[in-house]
Symmetry: C2
Subunit: 330 residues, 2 copies
Amino acid sequence: MAEAATIEDIRAARARLAGAARRTPLLESDALNALAGRRVLVKAECLQRTGSFKFRGGWSALSALDPEARKKGVIAFSSGNHAQGVALAAKLHGAPAVIVMPEDAPQAKISGTRGYGAEVVTYDRFGEDREAIGARIAGERGLTLIRPYDEPMVIAGQGTTGLEIAEQAAEAGVTEGDVIVCCGGGGLAAGIALALEEAAPGLRVRTAEPAFYDDMAISLRSGRRERCGANEKSICDAIVTPMPGELTFPILKGRAGPGFAVADEEARCAMATAWKHLKIVAEPGGAVALAAALFRREEIEGDAVIVTVSGGNVDPAVFAAALSDYGDAP
Amino acid sequence: MAEAATIEDIRAARARLAGAARRTPLLESDALNALAGRRVLVKAECLQRTGSFKFRGGWSALSALDPEARKKGVIAFSSGNHAQGVALAAKLHGAPAVIVMPEDAPQAKISGTRGYGAEVVTYDRFGEDREAIGARIAGERGLTLIRPYDEPMVIAGQGTTGLEIAEQAAEAGVTEGDVIVCCGGGGLAAGIALALEEAAPGLRVRTAEPAFYDDMAISLRSGRRERCGANEKSICDAIVTPMPGELTFPILKGRAGPGFAVADEEARCAMATAWKHLKIVAEPGGAVALAAALFRREEIEGDAVIVTVSGGNVDPAVFAAALSDYGDAP
């Protein structure tokens, strides 16, 4: 079966994103390297517009839409980062956007999404069916649904991150090793895997997920999409998907190495480490790849590892608590 | 009188810094622009090695030293950022470094400096004479003193920030306006002013300082070096110098626009704003320029302003308190 997105789609997305999305830096810290026992190169997508890589996918999807459909508007489901990415991309394209968000999403993400001009509809994550709510609104208004990861143009947009990693890692002298990617449904990981295969074949994607939500790691081991977690709690709100995407999994299956799962406390500690040594803001779900580099170092080979910090949209109290618990750690 | 540093010194420093210092990004946030009422381009020197622009000056000075002198080693006085910049630059040059620091400097800065391999000597800021302590140690060991701002090669190193700002602002479509620079002794501001005069004559430096320590603003108004503040408290530990530098002031006198002074609470709020909208870590003294863009907007002209976030080395409790007080502000 043909895969949902190709390297050509990613290159085309990159051309559409030029001048809109930011080429985020690949950061490195002398102190962090010492702490992690090897070079750690950090793709800081928290510095992307809207504070996460999701703006890439949102812009890619909006810019690829038929102009008539774009004029009617778009709709998205999201706990927050995809919401903000689609909202700003829609606003900049002059397209209306409706975002369906769980009512317990971080306040920073809800207000951020409204701040980009989108109409936010909230629902009860444990009682209501967001698909049904979305389908009704989309039908009434003729909106196009933009899925967070099982969407070819979204995967292509996220893949532009991989093209940048390939170039920036080479500039830093790194052409071999693991690229650990924060993983929910797998859109970013799949896009990066496709890009690296072409642009940096010595680099290999590995996914990082929260404990109990390591469905991608389990599925990569078994070779088929497995479900897990569902009713467990995790602080990593952005990536608590219970099952790999239908389009993203086949892309990752043949390309990704073994996945990582990290505990919430490891993610919170990694948030403090990113704050201290990199001077960037990572949200819990955006810190799991760095947590893997710090706390699973014996499962990593080589002198250098690349990690994504995929987003930085976090409520201040959650962040302050992580600093209070781990800010004085090395 | 000839000035202490020239554009040629800055260009030469840039060549020496290539491959060692980082070209930090010029960040921009859609939400921050809306908040500030104009475009705000943020030169994120907190993402520089050692977490502040001071690595530039440290590397510039170390790399310009006579090899024999370098081998004997260097000494510096600093509340923390210059300390870390010199310490890492010395380590990478294989040179011993002694850093004389006030015993009440932020713990993050003291331990950071030790972490870069320097020998730290602490003193009582209110009782002991750091110059005397430093002179004794330097004499005993034949060390070269590297001053934090009144040092031509240090000013030249900091000026490389200005060359980058000129290029990055032009890429962002900004060739006219104010560049607000966090200011202690004035090394960064003087270096940037020299660089912009040559590389972006439509951009003008303006200094930002903490209230009670706005000696540069007062001196720029009167046209001569004035002393102030001295025994007041300020949270902006990095930039509580009581008087402009002897070498930096003549450079700024003819080139800088009117200076800003901001209250500690404005700096703390700007720290939270940088955390929220830019996803970067600013220390109090590194946030005063952003505070000026946010709270003195009527004293700024034009559609765009550039600010430096000059450092991000701050104790976790100080940062968490700023988030607690201002993290929910827009």
